[in-house]
Structures are given as structure tokens and as C-alpha cells.
Amino acid sequence: MSYHKLLQKQINKYLPEELRQDPALQHFFLAINESYSSYERDKELLNHAFSISEQEYQTLYENLNREYELKNISIEKLRQAVRNIKKENDSDINFDNEDLLIIVDYINSEVHKRKETEDNLNRTLKLLTTLLSNLNSGILVEDEHRKILYTNQLFCDMFAIAASPDQMTGIDCSDSAEQSKHYFENPDQFVTKISEVLRNKVAVFDDELKLTDGRILKRDYIPIYIDNQYRGHLWDYEDVTDRKKFENQLVDVTNIQNAILNGTDYSIIYTDTNGVIKSFNQGAEKMLGYLSSEVVGIHTPAIFHDISEVASKAKSLTQELGYEIKTGFDVFVAKSRNQSAETNEWTYIKKNKERINVLLSVSSIRNSKNEIIGYLGIARDITEQKIAETELKRSEERYRNIVENSTDIIYKINKNGYFTYVNPVAERITGYKQEELLNKQFTKLIRNDFKKETIIFYNEQIELKKPTTYYEFPITTKNGEERWIGQSVQLSELSKEDFELTALAIDVTERKNYERTIFLQKEKYQNIIANMNLGLLEVDQEEKIQYVNPGFEFISGYKAEELIGKNAAKLLVSESHLNLVKSKQKLRAEGQSDSYEVPIINKKGELKWWMISGAPNYDNKGKLIGSIGIHLDITEQKQLELDLELSKSKAEESSKAKEAFLANMSHEIRTPLNAIIGMIRELSKEKLSPKQETFVENTAIASQHLLSVLNNILDISKIEAGELQLDLHHFDLQKILNDVKSIMLAKCGEKGLYLKINHIENKNVTFIGDSSRFRQILLNLIGNAVKFTDYGGITVEYDVEDLHTGYQAVYISVSDTGVGMDESFLKNIFNKFSQEDSSTSRKYGGSGLGMAITKELIQLMNGSIEIKSQKNVGTEIVMKFLMPIGDPSKLLKNDFVSVENTGKLLNILLVEDNEFNRLVACNTLNHFNCKITEAVNGLEAIDILKSGKSFDVILMDLQMPVMDGFESTRIIREILKIATPIIALTANAFKSELELCLKLGMNDCVTKPFEEEKLLNSIYKLTQSNDQVPILEALQKQNSSKKLYDLSQLKSMSRNNDEYCKKMISLFIEQSTEALSQIIEAYAQKDLTTVHSISHRIKPSMDLMGIELLKQPIRFIEKQSRDNRDSEELKQQIYFLREVLNNTLIQLKEEEV
């Protein structure tokens, strides 16, 4: 336990230790300690109270001091204030006086004054407030603490403040910017700006604020300074939205105006009333090349005007206006002074002296008092327009020319159907004049029966607004003609209600007529097909019937419905002919058409013959879809045909009988005649008395005449039988004529007539032909002439004319001065047995066959004959031949002389049953150094030959008893193998017989009664070893063997198929016959290319047929012709080919087919 330190000290000092522990003491001590502590505490409390009182005093003192000072300051300030307040005239007051009362009095008076002033101020303020509240601006006045002092209703309205302006007063606005910023477009900027303005405290005017609702507000800020002290500010908001809008528009308009003024190509020049240029826009600069600076201030008319133009304009204006207009500015404005504007064309001269056309519009500019203050000239460059106008005019001209001169009709009609334009073609085609048409409605021209549909057609075009249409219709022209018009019509709408039609029309009358003709024809043919007696049948590829016409129904007896879909062949054709029909159907499939006859059974079961002409039927894509058949019932014709065939065969039989009769007759007549002529010839060689000589001569003439009549009859028979053949050889025409002359001269002499025959020098007169037929023709014609001429004579003239190589034209005319003929008779002159009348016949005699034979012969020689005759004046006969030129060196020798000259004795075997004929022949031949051995028939002859006697020539009669000449020849050639030349003697001059002779191996043939010359010539030919004619030589060689061909190759190839061989042979005959004539003809034309191609073609087939004789020649011909080498040898080879091939063909025909 611790005690108060002073106590402790006392204790420690005064009290022993032991006492210290005494509890009583201790308690005592504790009580003392307590006293100590209380003392301490009281002391502390006293101290504390004192210090507080001290402090309070101190503070009071200080306060008093401060107050005093303040008072002093206040008084000083008061003084100062009073001094300040004190007006200058109050100088007598001394404020430095300590006496405050003076000041107070002063202040009192001053306050009073102030009160009055304040009242005035309040009144003013009220006035101001009223003013502010009625302003068109929203006003907000704040004090320096941003408390609202004043606002007006407009401000509240502006910012949609619900409170009234009075309620607003006193509200703190320091946060208002942040609160109201959402009204503005740039809220942050608005806030920044306000704070900036408030910071600067400098007046800001005309701040533009854009509100989000589109309003634009103008804001003024006015800080309020009172005594240079900031005391608040005023916000003045004004709604300038409309004004702004208006301003913007104004700017736009101004810009536009500027753009127009400067951007335009128009030259705009403004002058004052005196014509001094005040403004010159960019357009003008551009147009004229002058700069504004160059011309402003210049007087118009200026450098860019044409003074002479101005002068002339002045003159015309003077005239127009009736008072004088001087050349000068007046010219431009004389009119516009009174009127609003005047527009004229002018010439401007550019700075580069180029002249341009302008359209100048001058208008006066007036002020508000309607006084003219200047002139505005607006000019447009119309140079290009001018050019374009000229161009347009020209093109319009051109267009009009085209339209007017068009070959088509061009016209326009308006919506009422009246013509508004027609071109000249329209006039020409309609026959109406332009004026007439222009007063007409288009429909008036249309032919009545077409009017309705035409109008309907065009109404439809108009209603449906089809831009173009084409239509054809007939019109009636002014003179009543009908013409068809085809027109393209273009619809052009002029406005919603108005339109016009432009038509381009052509006259299609011709085409229409043509179409109508075609239509009618089609109709006609369709009618024909439908109604014809021909049955028409269309079948598909399965042969099913697709269409039948009524004709087919009629001829078949079946109805169409019975036929459609059926197979016609199966229905109608008998089994035996089905194959034929099938083969025809196959042909259709190959695209071939042909016609054939087939027997059918109709529905009634009757047998009918149909002629069917079938053709494949294609669709329009060319695909075979079946066939079309036209069926003609030819049952009757068929019957006729059968009858005809019957009668033909009868006729042929009778013709054969006639031929046989003629052959027999000629033999029967010739044989004795032969004897008579021969005997007379022999008799005339005897020594006779003059009288006897005359008799013999007359007998000879009579027998010759008889012979010629007989020959004529034979000739005509041959001609009729097609048997007459020419014997071609080289001959001299002049010689023939000379012969004829010498023959006819005697006859002419008898009648006292002359006979003139001309000679030709220096021209070829050698030809290849049949000289004896020539002679025959000439003798006949001259003979006739002599016969029918009693006075004057006969003139024969001939001439030749060179034609293409190898040929000459030969003209021969025989004219007389005889009785002549009627024209009517001339027509019949070539008919058989015709003489002008029976009296003529009696008077002049003759068989009447001569001219017919002559004509036939001439035709055979490819010649022509023409007769001109005049009764009692004379007759002229002109013949014309085309003859191949002959070789004079190959003329037939004149002959028996040569036989004599050979001096060689000829051994001749004469086989002849007729005693007289033997006698004649012996007599003849004996004259020519011949030794004759006679045999009465073939058997005797063979006996003689068997006995080993050899002869140079055998003369063989053909018709003999016991064994005839044919049989004998066969035995001689085939059995006896004797090659002695055999000459047939025959009274029968028929070709068939001659061919048989040659075939049997005879070498020549002489007709009886023979002429010495001919017989001798033949003998001579056959006995000469060096024969000149290789063809005959080859023939002779060949004749001695059996056949000209060898079929072994063909047969081996065909494996002995006879059918095939026969077919091939007939093909060969057909082909070679044609080929041969082609070669001959081609060679005659010297067309070696064709000769080559044909010879090349037939070569293999000739090899196939084994024609050994031609193996080399055909190759020779082929080679020569390929090399285009013509030669004599080629010619001979071709002739050789002809001879051999002809004979081969004859043989083939007889032996193989």
C-alpha cells in the first residue's frame, strides 16, 4: 500500500518500522492518507477554478479590445462610407469629426433618400420584370450563386417546365445544365459550353443550340456586374427555328441563283439604263471568250456585236415602231422598255472572231418605284440548234422524199378513221387524188364484204393497244377495180384519248390472185382426188390402210370402214400375186416408186385388173411413213389388151405369111427372070440382024423393068420388116452420078430432054456409105423426073460442105421442068402406091413404090428430103446427107477387069438346081477365065468335094431339092472341114437369111438374078490372098471356127448354174449393145474420154464372155483412148470391135438365150 508521498516521507522519517506495521496505525495512516488525497484534490480544484476565471477575464478583455478596434474600424468605415455617399456639394460636413451623431444624421437623411430611390427601383424592377415576362425570348436570370432570380413563362414553355415562373424563383440552378442537357443535340457539348461560359463570365451572344426535337434556339448570355462585381447573369433563349429555316432557304436560293448565273451556258449581261455593261457572267465569258473584266464598263453595242446587224435592225425597228431608233443601245431595248421582255436572234462575235447565233432575250429591271434601273440580256447559243434545225429540215425533206417516192403506200389516219396523210403511191393505187382521200374515211375504201371484219380487226388493235399489226383486205379503187392490200399498221398514242394509225401498205393483188389460183387448184385437185375414178390408198409401214378415197371404195366394193386398218393386199390380192405385191412393198421401203398391174378380187368376188401406181410416203421430216397407191381399174383395158395381143399375134402371123409369100414369090419370079435376063444377055452377044437386035434390046429393057418392079416390092417388104440394111463401104459420089447420068442419058435422049449433072472440083467426094442405094435413089428420082417431063430437061446439082472432122454435108438437088404436082399431092407423095391420079398411073406407069422406098432409104442414111413443086412449072427435090468422109484408096476396085488380069484360072464349083440359072452363070463366068464344075444339088456337090477335087470358090444356091445350101455348107465346114470360100446365091434378099449364111460359115452372098459385076467382085475378093479388108479377114477366120465366145469361165464361176449364166448373158447383151453404140457415137464425136470410160467398163465382161478375138483390141482401144491418141489404127479397131461384137451378140442371142 502506498501513501501519499508526503505522508510516506513523514512516516519514514518519524515512525519506526515496527509501527509502521501496526494495523491501527495503518488505519490511521490510511485516514491521514485520505486527507492528504482530499487536500490534493481540493487544491487541484481551486487551481482549476482560478485558471478558468483568469481565462475568462482574458477573453473578455480581448473581446473588448477587439470590439473597440472594430468600432473604430466601423466608425472609420462609416466615415468612409459617408464620405463616399457624401455628394460633392455636402463638403461642409466634416466626417472626420469624432462626433458620430453628425454622421448618423447624415446617414438618416441618406437612408431616407435611399428609401425613396429603392421605391423607384422597385417600380423599375417591376416594369422590367413585366417586360421580361412578355419578351419573345425565354429569360432566365440567376444570381451569383446560381439561384433563380427570375424566369418567364416562355422559358418554362421552351423547356417544358411544369412550374410557373414565380415558383421557379429561388431554385438553385447549379445542376440545371446536367439536368436539361437531354433537350439538346449535343448534350455533353452543351454542358461544357455552359460551364465554360459561366467560368468566363463574359457575354456571349447568338449561340445556336439545336434541340433534339428539331428546334433551333439562339442563346445570349449576359453576366450581371454591379459595381464591377459579378452578381449573376441572364440567359436569353430565343426560338429561331423558323427564321433559321428561312435563312437556310434563302442561302439555298442564293446558291441556286449564283449557280444559275455562273453555271449556265447562257450569257447573262446586265447593263445600266445607258447600256454600260455592269455584269458579265461566266456563261458569257465562256460563250464569247472575253473575260468579265474586259467588258464590264463598256458601252453596248459592244465589241461582240455585229454593228451592221445592229444597224439593219435599227432600220427595221424604225419602220416597225413608227419612230426613229438610232443604231445603238436603243435597238436592244426599244421594245423591252415597254414590254416585259423581248427575244430576238442575234449574231455574237467571239473574241476569236468566230460568229455564233444567239437567241437574246432582253428584259428591263425595275426598282420598287417601277423605274427602270437597268437591262438584263440573256443570250443562248443557238448555233448548234440552227445547224440541227437545218439538219432536221433536210432530214424531214429526205424523209418526205422517201415517203413520197416509196413504192409502198404510206398513210396515216386519225382516231376517227380519216386519212390525215397519204403518199403519192396511195393515189396511184386507189385512183383517188390526195385531196379526195384526205376527206375520206379509211373504211370507205374497203370492199363491202370485208368492211366488217377489217373494222373489227383494227378496233381490236386499238383496244388492246397492239403496237403493230398486219392485215390483208381488198379495196375498191375509184374506177371500181378491186385491189388487195396488205398493210402493217402502227398505233401511236398521241394522248390518253387521242391516237393515230400509220400504215405501210403494199399492193398484194397479184399474190392474192396467185394464192387464190393455188387455193382453187388445190381445191380442184382435192375434189378430183375425192371424186376421181382412181382409188387412192394410203398405208402405213405395216401396210395397214390409213386412208381410202371414195374412188377406192367404188372400185373395191368395200366401204372405207371395212378397209381402214386392214392389209389391202391380203384383202384383195389373190394368193398367186401376193409375192408380186410384196416385192413392190419392199421397193417402197427402199424409197422407189413404180407402177404395176395386178389382178384382184373385189368384194363381189369379181376378178378385176388394177393398175397400181405406188410411191413411198414421207412425212414432212422426210421419214418414210408408208406408201401411197393410186389404183385404176383397168379390167376393160386389160381385156382390150388381151384382144389386142391376140389380134397382134394374128397380124404378125399374117405378116409372116406375107413375108413368106413374098419370099417365095420373089424366088419363083426371080428364077425364071434370072434365066430370061441371062439368056437375053447371051443372045445379045450373038450376031443378030438389026431387027433382031431391036427385039432383043426391047426384051432386055422389059425384063430389066420387071426386075426393078420386083426389087421395089422386095425393098418395101424389107423396109416394112425392118430388114433393110445398108452395105457401108468407101465410094466416089461423082462416079455414082456419072454412072447414073450414063444410064439415064439414053432415056432423056429418047424424050428429047437434057440432063445436066455438075462436077465438083477440089473437094472430097469420097464417102463411106451404101453406093448402090445412092444409085437407086438417084435413078428413081431422075427416072421420075424424066417420066413426068415432056419438055426441057433435068438438072442434077450437088455440093459438099465440110463439117466437123470426118464428116461432110452432101446436098443433092434434082430439078425438072415437068408437069409438077399439087400441094395436096405433095403430102402423100411418100405414101406407098400413090400416084397423082389414076390417069397419071395409066399414062406414066410405075409401081408407085419408088418415092416411098426413096424416103425410107434416105432416112436410113440419116438424110432428109424436101420437095418443092409447082403444077406445070416443075419440081425440085433437095436431099441432104451427113456423110463420113471416105478414103479414096479404099474404093472398091473395078473388078472383073482385075479378074481377067490375074490371068489365073479359077476353079469354081457351081451348085444350082435350076438349069437355066446354071447356064447363065456358066456363060457369065466362062467369059472370065473360070472353069466351072456343076452340081445340081448339095448332095452332088458334097460328093464332088469328097472325091477330092479342090476349088477356088463354091457358088451355092440356097433353095435346092435333096439337100439345100445351108445343110451342105454345114457339112462342108464341119464334117469335110473344107475352108474353100462359099458364096451364097439367093433369090431371097432377106437379112435373116444372109445372117444365117454367114453364121453357117459362108463367106459372102450374092442375090439372084446376079449382076455380073457383083458376082465377080465377090469371087475376086475371096480369091485374093492379100485382102485389104482386115475386118472381113478376121470374120472369115472366125467364121471358119464355130463360136466367137467361150462361156467356160462363166460356167465354171457359176458352178454350172444355167439360170445364172443365162441371166449374165442377157445382161451382157443388154449392156454391150448399149455400150457399143455409145462407143461408136463417142468416137464419131471424137470424145475419147467417153470411149475410154466405156471400153474400160466393158472390158471385164468381154473377158468373162471369153471373146478371145476382142481381148487385145479392147485393151488397145482402152489404152489409146486413155492417152487421147486418135489414129487410123484406133478407128479400125473400133470398127473391128463393132463387127465382132455385133456378130458375137447375134450368136449369143441365138445360141444361148
Binding site: 457359176s1054 458352178r1055 445382161l1067 451382157f1068 467398163r1097 468373162l1104
Partner: protein, 126 residues
């Protein structure tokens, strides 16, 4: 085998046609068809011949046209041109237009034709 080969012979010469047919028939080819002109031959290509012998006329370009048409319609067919005359141009032209061979008409046409057919058969494509 040989009996199945279908042969077309085209020639305007009936005699040649028949000769060739007989010759080929003798070699055992029985399926032979004759045509006198190219058009008919074309119209019968649906018969699908294996071999076609085509006669070529001197200076006749239509043969090549025909050849081309046949080749177009029936590419599988072997076409042999038979010409009357040896001509390099023709032979080249024939090959160019797709002919298999080219025979010049002469003395042993049939032997040549048989050879060609044998050659074709040895190709084993028919």
C-alpha cells in the same frame, strides 16, 4: 463363221454386181446384197452389213460423200472402195474417209475381194 458375214455390193453396173456376187458366193459368203446406187445402200444400212464394197466412179467425189455417210451411220462397217483406175489421190482419199481398203478393178477382182474379206475376218471383230 464366213456364212454370217453380211456383204453389201454397191455398183451401178449390174453385170459387175452379179459377177462379184457369184465370185463371193463361190467362196462361201452367202449373205450378199446388191445395190445399184448409194442411196439405196444408205437406206438399207439398218440391215447392218459387216462389209461394203463400194464402186468408185472416176472423177466422182460423191463416192467420198457416200463413204462418209455410211461411216457416220454405221461406223462398224468395213468399207472397201473398188475403183476402175489406179489413182493415188483416190486411194488416199478413200483411207482418209474411213475406207478399210482400196481395190483397183482388174483381172482378178474376186480374188482381191476374197483376200480383203479374209483379212477382215482375221481381225476377229465381226
Amino acid at each position: 463363221m464366213t456364212h454370217n458375214v453380211k456383204v453389201f455390193l454397191v455398183d451401178d453396173d449390174l453385170l459387175s454386181l452379179n459377177t462379184y456376187r457369184q465370185g463371193l458366193e463361190n467362196s462361201g459368203y452367202k449373205n450378199i446384197h446388191l445395190f445399184l446406187n448409194g442411196i439405196i445402200c444408205l437406206n438399207n444400212l439398218h440391215q447392218k452389213p459387216n462389209i461394203i464394197f463400194l464402186n468408185h466412179e472416176i472423177n466422182d467425189s460423191s463416192t467420198f460423200d457416200l463413204l462418209k455417210k455410211i461411216k457416220q451411220s454405221l461406223p462398224s462397217a468395213y468399207i472397201i472402195l473398188i475403183s476402175r483406175e489406179e489413182n493415188i489421190k483416190v486411194s488416199i482419199g478413200a483411207m482418209k474417209h474411213g475406207a478399210f481398203d482400196y481395190i483397183v478393178k482388174g483381172d482378178d477382182d474376186i480374188r482381191k475381194m476374197n483376200n480383203v474379206i479374209e483379212r477382215i475376218l482375221s481381225l476377229n471383230t465381226i
